[in-house]
Symmetry: C2
Subunit: 661 residues, 2 copies
């Protein structure tokens, strides 16, 4: 019989991912709200704290919790450094607060008695005995004695004991008798700021040569960096840089027979020249790559490498570790298949291998190899075709040893699989952004990402295009479609990226019937005319500048859609928690026609009183409008202004008591 005098229950603790099986994700500098339902029988008042510490530390820090509403409590903590943290919650009956509340009512009703005061004095005495500090002990002793000093009338003594100061003094020395501690310690992984806010630019270094016809090198890629930096990006992401397989190499447009001069796909990794820890000789040497990383750093850019755990038939692992691949009954190695299609240029790794330990260790060492060369960000190709327990182990180990490393999951697959990868440890995740075109589907999707518990483990990264994706919307929407998708990607989520130069050059020709580029750069060396006069380069630079100037756009937690009475007009706002920076985005989703409508703004989300006058200042076109209250007219011509990124300024409150003469 396990008897307890504890009376407080702690339920529904947040953040908590899958009942605590996975850490929740937050970032440095972000206030971390911890919430719980905290209940006790009867009507006594409750005291509660968040206990919080770096994982494995001996002592807890405390943050007090306050009742929000309906038995929901909240406390806020913060972390200065990346790493693992842990928290739990402790709550107890606050006897002195309960006594003060009841006493105040008795005093009001004129029914306070000497005995009521004695009850309070007993609680103070208990705190006094519990106190270890002389000053506190003295102060409590004085309060105790004053309460029992019968030279003063009862109501007067009661009144004096109702002070906030005394409440704090007793609370600070309370023994928290019969306190309940939540039955689990939950974990939060705090990442550095770039995990939350990043702007990615992807390009193929082999297409970076200034003259046509030549295979680009790391030196050419270095020369491309000022261009990338001038657009305001902070992550430069390269497709795989490893030696490319020759057996079954694919030719232009993915034909199965490559010509002798076809460069092959960088995702068919490995040749006699090396595997995942080597660089493709035509790009240069490892030392050239090191110079590229250093040059990027000088331009304020971090390098993200693409890690694709798959092998060409020529990869050294195939001969050195055949046990890491699936063997067919004829002794050959199983190539990739999506029956009836065969991908004979790719051998998948077998996570059911008898030597899973050797395989896991080697794969992890690939990341370590590049981390040792200064790479801090990885974009992982098709992580959903590698086992989830492997990722959980690998990312857990790597982020403990290198808490600054960021991993972006490139999984365009079923939603729960994408979420599982985020849970097991990916820092950021690709999204369905490219295929969300209608207002209702954008609202539904980003409400799910930003406003449900998905936001505790999944950090969305929005890409309008990739080497694999050229949507019909971009194929047929012209410049307006590109600008609209740019604005949305850069504001719906704090993390976004583009695949350039095809994006800024508005390349829109697809393989017929497919949502893919024709003559795809994946299979060819390209030459891009960056000086093309209609390039979106300036627009991109402007949007990235707006992002860097407005902290509201550097986070996804304070996010609200606003109603507009036109299905082609989308409106949403982001704000800092203190509402010192509020951004309202209004976009015309129709790339063809002018659209107009009336907003119905959620004024509270904008930090405004319901009837405020306020200025909205479009940082794209620099136009300004004076708006009033929730309903305001908007009109967007996609050929002139596909969207506004408004900074909201509360110019003054409506003067309610202005004389009406």
């Amino acid at each position: 019989m396990e008897v307890t005098q504890r009376r407080v229950s702690i339920r529904g603790v947040r953040p908590q991912v899958d009942c605590g099986r996975f850490p929740a994700k937050r970032s440095v500098g972000e206030p971390i709200d911890v919430e719980a339902d905290i209940l006790a029988d009867s009507h006594d008042l409750i005291g509660a704290v968040v206990l919080w510490r770096p994982a494995g530390a001996d002592d807890w820090d405390e943050a007090s919790m306050e009742l929000v509403a309906n038995d929901r409590w909240r406390g806020t903590v913060e972390a200065d450094e990346p790493g693992r943290y842990e928290f739990t919650i402790r709550a107890w009956i606050d006897r002195f607060a309960t006594w003060q509340r009841d006493m105040a009512k008795r005093v009001d009703a004129g029914v306070s008695t000497e005995i009521d005061l004695q009850v309070g004095a007993e609680i103070i005495a208990a705190a006094m005995n519990n106190s270890t500090e002389a000053a506190a002990k003295d102060a409590l002793q004085r309060a105790h004695d004053a309460l029992l000093d019968d030279s003063q009338p009862v109501p007067r003594r009661a009144d004096e004991a109702l002070s906030e100061e005394l409440a704090e003094l007793v609370s600070a020395n309370d023994d928290r008798r019969f306190a309940t501690t939540f039955d689990r310690t939950l974990e939060i992984r705090v990442d550095r700021e770039r995990a939350r806010f990043s702007s990615w630019y992807e390009f193929f270094p082999r297409s970076a040569a200034p003259e046509p016809g030549r295979h680009g090198t790391f030196d050419d890629a270095i020369a491309r960096l000022p261009y990338v930096a001038s657009m305001g990006f902070d992550v430069v992401y390269l497709p795989p840089i490893h030696p490319i397989g020759k057996t079954h190499r694919k030719g232009p447009n993915n034909v199965t027979e490559a010509g002798p001069d076809d460069p092959g796909s960088p995702w068919a990794i490995g040749s006699s020249e090396g595997g995942h820890k080597s660089v493709h000789p035509e790009l240069g040497t490892l030392e050239d790559f090191d110079r590229f990383v250093a040059a990027a750093d000088e331009h304020g850019l971090e390098v993200a490498l693409d890690i694709a755990f798959q092998c060409s038939p020529d990869h050294p692992w195939v001969s050195e570790h055949p046990e890491w691949f699936k063997e067919r009954p004829d002794g050959s190695i199983q190539y990739a298949e999506n029956p009836p299609k065969k991908y004979q240029d790719i051998y998948p790794l077998n996570f059911e291998s008898d030597d899973a330990e050797g395989l896991w260790t080697e794969l992890k060492s690939v990341f370590e190899f590049w981390i040792d060369r200064g790479v801090t960000i990885f974009r992982v190709d098709n992580p959903h075709t590698k086992s989830f327990p492997f990722w959980q182990w690998c990312l857990d180990e790597l982020t403990r040893e290198h808490p600054d490393t960021i991993f972006l999951s490139e999984a365009f697959t079923r939603p729960k699989v994408m979420y599982e990868l985020a849970k097991v440890g990916f820092t950021q995740s690709y999204t369905y952004f490219a295929w969300r075109n209608r207002k209702w589907e954008i609202e539904q999707y980003y409400n799910e990402l930003h406003r449900t518990e998905v936001a505790d483990f999944f950090r969305p990264n929005s890409w309008p295009n990739t080497p694999d994706i050229l949507t019909e919307f971009l194929q047929y929407g012209g410049r307006a479609a590109f600008v609209q998708k740019l604005i949305l990607a850069a504001t719906l989520t704090a993390n976004y990226g583009i695949y350039g130069p095809p994006f800024e050059l508005m390349l829109d020709e697809a393989r017929p019937g497919a949502e893919e580029y024709v003559d795809n750069e994946k299979y060819e060396v390209k030459h891009w005319d960056l000086a093309q006069p209609d390039s979106l380069r300036e627009m991109i630079a402007r949007v990235n500048r707006i992002r860097s100037e407005n902290p509201a756009l550097q986070q996804d937690r304070e996010f609200t859609f606003h109603h507009v009475d036109n299905e082609e007009l989308l409106a949403f706002s982001k704000a800092t928690r203190d509402k010192s920076n509020v951004v309202l985005v209004v976009v015309n989703l129709d790339p063809n026609w002018k659209q107009a409508g009336t907003t119905w703004l959620d004024m509270e989300a904008l930090g405004l009183e319901p009837d405020s006058q306020f200025q909205v200042h479009d940082r794209i076109g620099e136009s300004r409008y004076l708006w009033h209250g929730p309903s305001n007219y908007v009109e967007l011509d996609p050929h002139v202004t596909p969207g506004h990124i408004f900074v909201v300024r509360d110019i003054h409150r409506t003067e309610r008591d202005f004389p009406t003469f």
Copy 2:
């Protein structure tokens, strides 16, 4: 380094209350759906089963799970007997199903090869080696050999290996290599049917004397049973039957000074005549009570006792166990208070007592005392003023020892406290039913109760009135209001009850400004004229008969609100899972005026094709209407027909292919 070759993840398992901290609730004969998100990397097919057994049994039963949609899987189990059960989930890569799927595509595309067949033969051979049954071994051997018999062409052999029979045979003998078992065993408490479906009638036995002015006895209560049974109830619930305290006894209308002949409140329990294990002498003896229980049983009624864990100052526990109460500084015992109000006739028990173990044991023994006298149902008064851990222990012990016992929680307090009591073990719970009058609030509330995970632990019991509650709606709505609330209570939830005779006699006079009966029976012996001509007795009998004839109304899981374009008209349906019984309720919420509107029915919830013709047969007024499709006209005059309880009959499907000559 914990390496695993397991590749399947099991997430979001339901039912699961508070991450498995509490058992989910189901009842005998109810299909129990077990659901989970089951995922693996890549594109292999998955096999999954629910493992299910009585708690503590050695072996698991298995129920296969099927993919529903979006990686959600479902399996269904059932329990024949009340008790504790436990379940978990096991899932694995189904290699043979995957092979069959891929092979079918290769055959279709004409690209199947001998090696593909050898891969299949290897999987069959593994099952064969794993098989313990000679017949299965033989059949697998034959299938294996046939697959490798190169006298037949590859596509023909492939085709033969794609049969469902072979799939089942291999699956039954599969070794489920690298299977994942969900990391928790979850519990389900299966209660008997009455936990799910019950009709309660509350009355004060002391008011049951046939002549006015006399204190009723158990014998008078026995004489009242045919009346109760004639209305179709199955639970007869008595307020506390224990000796009533004399110190600070309350008089009529709760005045603090009782006259010498005032009977006092039955909730002020205990006197020199005994406490919670004694009966009030004016009602009779324990043997009289036993006869009452036996007589009720003869009428198909179960007796529910009211257990109120609180004491009058005269209760034997006060002198025998002063340590179970809170002592004030002057040595007196702390009475109940809601400052500035004092309830000096009631001493609350102190769950922070140093002798909590003695207190818990004694309280549990109160239930056991009455269980031993044949009581199977308890209505627990104000459980939210007793500690939650006590209830969790007490109800857990009692339901393990007496799995047929039902406990109804009388907590009208904050929603999360009511839910907590249900989680810690109460079988049924009072609800906010009495105060939910508007359509939107009824829809919101019952959707929360029936269609969210609340339904996994909270069984609602709807009461339109109690000795403590006479709502303004009943005070001013006349007969229509009583009938409307009767229909709603009896159909919104499978468990409901009324406090009679005030309900059927439509007593509507309240203490001014309060939602309470004036001259409350709690403080007086009453005499009721049951033969009053406008009594609702017949209507109640009819409603209870409809409940007993329609299994759809005996459960709350298959429940759907339907749109009606009039805010005064509420429509909802309940159905058996196989839709063999479908009931549609339409109620006019306005007790004053005739209301009309058009339905927009969810045809699927009614088990109907979108354009079906169907009959709705009102089992209250026996009117019948032929309806067609989702939109149908309804009109309800509250003075004639406050509501319909329609049985839905699908008379025939629309003949789509009737010749159009």
